[in-house]
């Protein structure tokens, strides 16, 4: 009985030995470089002192987690993180896909190439430079945003955008798009180039217009990519970045600008408190992984492409 059951398994393994050879060594490699260091998570339950060995550390249980969740600043940071990454996620997806679709409609190849190359340039600027430009653009003394809005008659007096908490998340969202739009689009363009041109030809013969082709050919052609990237990004909702927020933050808006990462910099790493930083990291991972599997499960339910 046993041998009979075992045989097909071994048979499959034998048949798939090339696939195994392609993937198992890589998997072991990943375990070595990504999973083995996870013992470091034990720091979250210690008052970790770097100069001491593992067995000399003081174990403190959930002390650092309790510190995090009893701190109103941390809860604030949690809210800000989720809100900003949600905004960035939605805006990022919509604009990148729309931009890819519009680029796809350009007939003149050289123009298309130039636009696309230029649009990805801001990705290479550091956040410090990007933040400097944002601050300059939003200034009340000759900042371009105020100048244009006044000329168009939307506002009468210049607005001090960076002093108003209600605008901050939006400013971050727009800054992210401005910096990363071209970069984010690349992946959809790659997906689009995999679509069979024959489909467009036959649709044209059928008299489909531009929008019908977009809707019935292009979008379905990149749907798998969209869904997969969406699932991956939903799993990263706890990562809102921190550079831009850190550089643009000031006393008037810090209740709305500080993310978990900024909290960790201030109270964890910056104070040599590696344990607190690790605890925050574990919390983020747990939330992220939960979100990932929820999104994946949902995609499975509605019959879409999924990660696992």
């Amino acid at each position: 009985m046993k041998t009979v059951r075992k045989k097909p398994g071994w048979q499959i393994i034998k048949n798939q030995k090339q696939l195994i050879f392609m993937s198992v060594p890589v998997c072991l490699y990943i375990i070595l470089f990504s999973y083995i260091p996870l013992w470091g998570w034990s720091m979250a339950f210690q008052d970790y002192k770097p100069a001491k060995g593992f067995f000399e550390q003081t174990w403190v249980g959930f002390k650092h987690f309790i510190f995090l969740f009893s701190d109103s600043n941390f809860l604030n940071a949690l809210r800000n993180t989720l809100a900003m990454s949600l905004i960035n996620l939605v805006l990022g997806f919509v604009t990148a896909i729309a931009f890819a679709l519009l680029l796809n409609e350009i007939r003149i190849t050289s123009f298309k190439r130039v636009v696309q190359t230029i649009s990805y340039l801001p990705h290479f600027l550091s956040w410090v430079i990007a933040a400097g430009i944002v601050q300059m653009a939003l200034s009340i003394e000759g900042g371009i945003v105020n100048t244009i809005l006044i000329k168009l008659g939307f506002i009468k007096n210049p607005v001090m955008w960076l002093s108003k908490p209600e605008y901050f998340w939006g400013i971050i969202g727009i800054s992210f798009i401005w910096k990363e739009l071209g970069w984010n689009t690349i992946i959809y363009l790659a997906a689009m180039s995999g679509i069979d041109p024959g489909l467009y030809e036959s649709a044209e013969i059928d008299g489909a217009n531009r929008y019908q082709k977009m809707w019935h050919i292009t979008l379905p052609g990149i749907k798998a990519t969209i869904v997969v990237l969406l699932i991956l990004s939903i799993g990263r909702l706890m990562e809102a970045g921190f550079e831009m927020q850190y550089l643009l933050r000031n006393g008037l808006i810090m209740d709305w600008s500080d993310t978990i990462d900024i909290f960790v910099i201030n109270f964890g790493i910056g104070q040599g408190n590696y344990s607190l930083a690790t605890a925050a990291g574990i919390f983020k991972s747990v939330v992220n992984i939960t979100l990932l599997f929820s999104a994946n499960y949902f995609a499975k339910k509605i019959g879409e492409e999924r990660i696992v």
């Binding site: 083995i36 470091g40 998570w41 340039l121 790659a190 679509i195 069979d196």
Partner: protein, 306 residues
């Protein structure tokens, strides 16, 4: 019939105008920061701090570039960065795509567990200290291999991107190859690899840009061996030096002695940052137009049809 034709041509014109307008707007907003940075990099640094430089330098100078390029260390660092970028890209593209191919086979027995193992790596971070211990045990500290050994696999994101693309390739091609008796390796290298050019180009770009921009590994794992420094780290040091000269009173005192006159050649952090940004990014930006052709035309599918 006629009316419809006119209508659609007006619509076409409107759409084109609208689309072109959007594209031009995007070109302006995205070109501006770069052009601005270039202008600042060519502007005299004490003049720059007054603000008000937009797209053209006010007081032209090559000093900022001279200040950066006179550091002999950056030339060695350039080759370190270049070599690690090329090696990491070659390894990651081949290994990750092969791995993605294996895991795109729906009947593959270990598909699910391995996929989960890989995807999860995107969502946690063990922290620096245990990683340092691992590298130390592997002998990677102060070793060039620290740039390569941990960077052989392209990461979960690139893996998923590749796998999604491979899954979209019609199964019939692979099936017919199998009928001809081809093994998985042959299918991968002879059929999948060429068909995947657009996505491989994309992943290559992601990997190359990431490798080129990396500095943290230099900083943590190789900082005591300067000949192993990457370009980004050496350039970052120059910015840090310019910053410290601005906020360290002990250092300032000496500059003060000679008054504002002599301090004119002091490069300010803003100017150095601009010059550094241009020097660091131009080599990698140039890569893009070369890769671009792979995914701006749909040449791939043609080969599938054959």
């Amino acid at each position: 019939m006629k009316r419809k034709y006119i209508g659609s041509s007006i619509e076409k014109m409107l759409f084109r105008t609208f689309n072109t307008a959007i594209m031009i707007f995007l070109v302006i907003v995205t070109l501006y920061p770069f052009a601005h940075t270039i202008a600042i990099s060519f502007n005299e640094s004490l003049d720059t701090i007054r603000g008000g430089i937009y797209l053209w330098p006010r007081v032209f100078t090559l000093y900022n570039y001279k200040a950066v390029l006179s550091n002999i260390t950056i030339y060695n660092a350039f080759f370190i960065s270049l070599s690690r970028t090329v090696l990491a890209t070659v390894f990651q593209v081949i290994i990750t795509s092969m791995f993605a191919y294996a895991l795109s086979r729906s009947n593959y027995i270990f598909r699910k567990p391995i996929t989960i193992i890989v995807v999860l790596t995107m969502y946690f971070n063990a922290g620096l200290i245990p990683v340092y211990f691992l590298y130390k045990n592997l002998g990677l500290i102060n070793n060039y291999l620290v740039y390569i050994a941990p960077a052989m696999f392209g990461g979960a994101f690139n893996f998923i991107v590749l796998r999604t693309y491979i899954r979209n390739i019609p199964e019939s091609i692979i099936e017919s190859a199998k009928m001809d008796g081809a093994g998985e390796f042959r299918i991968f290298f002879q059929i999948i690899f060429p068909v995947c050019k657009p996505v491989l180009a994309t992943v290559a770009l992601f990997v190359a840009v990431y490798a080129w921009n990396s500095w943290f590994d230099s900083f943590i794992f190789c900082s005591s061996k300067q000949y192993l420094s990457t370009l980004q780290y050496e350039l970052m040091k120059l910015i840090a030096i310019a910053n410290i000269a601005q906020s360290n009173s002990a250092l300032l005192r000496d500059a003060m002695a000679s008054g504002g006159e002599a301090a004119k050649s002091f490069a300010s952090p803003i100017a150095i940052r601009a010059a550094v940004t241009i020097i660091a990014s131009v080599p990698i930006i140039i890569v893009y137009p070369f890769l671009q052709r792979y995914f701006i035309h749909g040449l791939v599918v043609g080969s599938v049809k054959e």
